[in-house]
Amino acid sequence: MNFDLELEFLLTMFFLALYLAKLVDWLIHTFHLGSGSTWPGEIALKIDSRFVFHSLAGSPTKIILITGTNGKTTTSLLVVEGLKKEGKSVIHNPEGANLLNGVASSLVRVSSLNGKIASEFAVFELDENVFSLVLSQIKKPYAVLLLNLFRDQLDRYGEVHAISTRWIKALSTLPKETRYSINGDDPRLAFIGKHLDTNIFYFGANMQDKQKKEIPHDVDSVYCPECGTKLEYSAMSYSHLGDYVCSKCKFSTPEKWTESIASLEHLSGVYNRYNIRAAVSLLHFALNLPYEQSRELLEGVTPAFGRQERFTASGKEWIVILSKNPSGFNQSIESLKELLGENKTTICLVLNDRIPDGTDVSWIWDVEFEKVFTYAETVITSGDRTYDMAIRMRTATDELKAESLKLKVEPDMKKALELCVKNHTIQAPIIVLATYTGMLEVRKLLIGKAML
């Protein structure tokens, strides 16, 4: 095949992919076959495996990539809302569609019929495990944000160390002018940054959010990523995030932006303040605005669905918090202090073990469930693995003797929510902490829709 023919062939395949995918996208939307579907992208990639690369070739769109274990959806939402408020046109992949096919789907949607993408910005949140794969098609991102790296679904993702090795390899192929914002409080991410041989903007939590006295149980990276010596922490925020130094090889926390920024009314907890800070750093890059002004753009943004999402249903106020891995769950529990103040309330724990949740529920033993009782008047467990959760909760407390049992166990989700309503007589909102599919189910039962 000569060069022209080959080019023509590639173009044909690309447009065939685009048109077919657009048709499917149209069908899905017209007949309400589910929102946020990854089908159009999946089809486009089947026909043209480099569809994402070809879509973006020659496009002026500035692409911002966001990855990490926890906080991707909230941070992406903040960045998108901030950019929109400044009048920028932004495309983004819908939450839950953070694999390559999700990125492809969002490109299918916004491509014009001649294959052009006109938006000024694209914000893509990416699953930490496919991040490297996506970088093989998005070769010139404008900015990359690395949020954190915790243990999560080892059945799917493998070990934290293996993921970071793949990231370094993939990130090393990006052009020098790529801007990086990296959470320098995470030793594993700081290690990645140091091996990239380029200018990196590091951020970290403010000292007020670094009040942990002991190394918690849910850590993965408290040993020096360079030489394996135990790191010495002078301050910790949560999990293995903090200010650290290796006494042997002198690997240490980088210079970080930690000056205090105002928090947001609807996003409580240390972990959300990391998300806000991360979003501000990206807006600061993208819009060339000072931090404070970037932060102001986020005023009034409400949480993404299922992330400290508040609504009223069955005459009660509810807060639903997605809690899907040890560090995430521990942070959800810690945020209850800010959400509830001195009040105790009804807390519903939903544990599912479907593919999006991770099929292994062992991790619940890494969560400090002992603390839940501080905030709970009643604890109700539900979901596919209700009884595993019940065993965990019963082990978590001494007081749970049969008669004073504040623990109610109900595998049927609908009945569990009815129990919440029935038992809840206080002012404070009912709290639901749920794994991914559990969260979707709860929303569907309470407000009649799984997704927004």
Binding site: H161, D360, S362, W363, W365, R385, Y387, I391, R392, T395
Partner: protein, 263 residues
């Protein structure tokens, strides 16, 4: 976890191998649950970390040894610290009949050697007569919910609850030598190597298995077996344990067994 001070004459000192380095995915559940079950029966427990500050001489104080899994990098750190006098002390402890439970990746370290998918062969402690080889990153890992049937006769215990459930996630494949006996027969899952239907291994009062995370909370009978055996070894008394309310445990087991159409 708060443990009330018991007035019982029994006290179990638990040695936990490198809790910071070897608790990858819920392995801690075994410790929390084991202590809870002792506590409910008024049996005292004390938890000691076998880590870099633990001396070889301290092994003699232990009545029960527990080891969980670790990620590859951490495994290397563990072995560097453990090899030598500490390893010898641990070995002779097991040799003299101290009950021990190794879950997830730790049996590999207690075997003759472990060959990782990439990199050099790691010498194990040689407590178990087993050899483990990782077939390389291209061969799929053994992952999923598991069901097994314990060979209680290999543990010279009365036949109690035979079925064990759990979750496995390992790359390495293990072959048993003639000085160990299999712990269980694979009913669902891969087991030691995906071929011979064996799960785990037993040597004296030490048990190893690939089931990871909260193995004891899922299998209260195994937890109780260890409590009884530990007291037998330490005090020379065979005691009958008070029955506990295992409604949730039984339901959790039922849920999984139903999924596999075993119930």
């Amino acid at each position: 976890m708060k443990i009330q001070v018991p007035n019982s004459k029994f006290k179990i000192r638990i040695g936990w191998l490198y809790p910071e380095l070897m608790s990858t995915y819920g392995d801690r559940g075994n410790i929390l649950y084991f202590r809870k079950r002792c506590d409910q029966r008024n049996i005292g427990t004390e938890l000691l970390s076998i880590d870099s500050s633990f001396s070889p001489g301290q092994f003699k104080d232990l009545d029960f040894i527990f080891g969980g899994g670790s990620q590859d990098t951490e495994q290397e750190l563990v072995m560097r610290n453990l090899m030598g006098n500490k390893a010898e002390s641990l070995k002779s402890k097991v040799e003299r009949g101290t009950p021990a439970l190794f879950v997830c990746g730790s049996p590999q370290l207690m075997g003759r050697f472990y060959e990782p998918g990439v990199g050099k062969r790691i010498d194990g402690l040689g407590i178990f007569d087993i050899e483990s080889i990782h077939p390389g990153p291209l061969v799929p890992r053994c992952i999923g919910n598991t069901v097994g049937e314990v060979y209680w006769e290999n543990l010279s215990a009365v036949r109690i609850e035979r079925v064990i459930i759990g979750f496995e996630n390992h790359g390495g494949r293990t072959i048993l030598g003639k000085n160990v006996k299999p712990f269980a027969k694979v009913v669902k899952g891969f087991g030691n190597n995906g071929n011979d239907k064996t799960e785990g291994m037993v040597y004296k009062n030490a048990v190893g298995c690939y089931y990871h995370g909260p193995f004891l909370p899922k299998n209260p009978a195994v937890a109780d077996f260890f409590i009884q055996r530990i007291i037998e070894v330490k005090y020379g008394e065979h005691i009958k344990l008070d029955k506990l309310d295992d409604t949730y445990e039984n339901k959790a087991r039922e849920t999984l067994l139903r999924r596999f159409n075993i119930l």
